[in-house]
């Protein structure tokens, strides 16, 4: 091997060593230091629990309002104290809650309340319907009628 080739070989080794050391230093310094703010993670669940368990001014809880809504025979029970049926009452109430909370707090959300045949959906961003970019799911089961409420807050 000629002298010039030795020199080039030496330079390549030096550069390679420097690159390896550099990568090592960066790799040890760039760590996932993100603080997992547990306080944020339960908001969707809290929202469903708090809203569904709260009493409306119709002597039902909101859970019972939705339970009535999904039952044709009981949907008109809300008309005894209000102008519309239970579905209208539940939809408007839930929309008011979402407007005052997630919408005001600049969260994108998708809430689906369904018993498998009928669906009530609330969203402020249609892109939030897809499975990607979703986080913090909240679930609420209304056992009497097997109604499931599923709230996703999107990133």
């Amino acid at each position: 091997m000629r002298k010039a080739q030795y020199e080039i070989f030496g330079v390549v080794i030096i550069i390679a060593v420097l690159i390896v050391v550099g990568i090592f230093i960066f790799a040890t310094n760039i760590k996932g230091n993100d603080v997992k703010s547990s306080v944020f993670s339960d908001i969707s669940q809290d929202l469903l629990d708090a809203s569904m368990n709260s009493n409306t001014d119709l002597s039902f809880t909101l859970e019972e309002v939705f339970s009535n809504c999904f039952d044709e025979k009981r949907n008109n029970l809300c008309k005894l104290k209000w102008d519309g049926d239970c579905c209208e009452y539940g939809q408007q109430s839930m929309q008011n809650i979402l407007d005052a909370t997630l919408d005001t707090w600049k969260f994108r959300y998708n809430l689906l309340i369904t018993d498998g045949t009928k669906e009530l959906e609330f969203t402020n961003d249609n892109r939030c319907k897809s499975t990607s970019q979703k986080s913090s799911p909240g679930f609420y089961l209304i056992p009497q009628s097997v109604i499931v409420a599923e709230l996703f807050i999107c990133k």
């Binding site: 010039a4 020199e7 993100d34 603080v35 306080v39 009493n55 005052a100």
Partner: protein, 167 residues
Amino acid sequence: MKKGQVELLENSFVVIMIYFIAFIMIGGFLANEFFGQKKMLADLQEKEWVRKVNLIYSMQEFRCNDNSIQLYDCFDKDKIEAFIDLSTSDDAFFAYYREMMGEMVVKVSVFDYAPDVDDYDTSMDYVVYEIGNPKSETYREIKFPIILRDRAKGTNHFAILKIGAYQ
């Protein structure tokens, strides 16, 4: 160009290259250290803020209990009212919580979501604790949906718990 000059030129090029790479690496390392420290400080402040928020959120003094079991995301209206009364009337009580909670803001307001509500009833808006200056740049708050239980009436209200803390 003579052979010696060519070799000198080659060697100079190699030395410049090594210095150049070393310069970039040292610069990158220093920048990384600088931003890493800033990030670490921000993370510590974030953790401290989260700790304060969690402290309030889990305080037995405000929560609903059912046969000694603490109910999830439920706050007791009577306990909150009692806390406010005591903290205004009892100096020792206030001093105890002042020391424990420090500079914070805790507010609860009931939200009436009924479709035909025009005027919101503010009789159930509570300033539970307020020490410090909310206009401070380090002030940061978070809001949680909660149940506010009225044990006397046996009703649950949808409410917003606001916790503000200073980082």
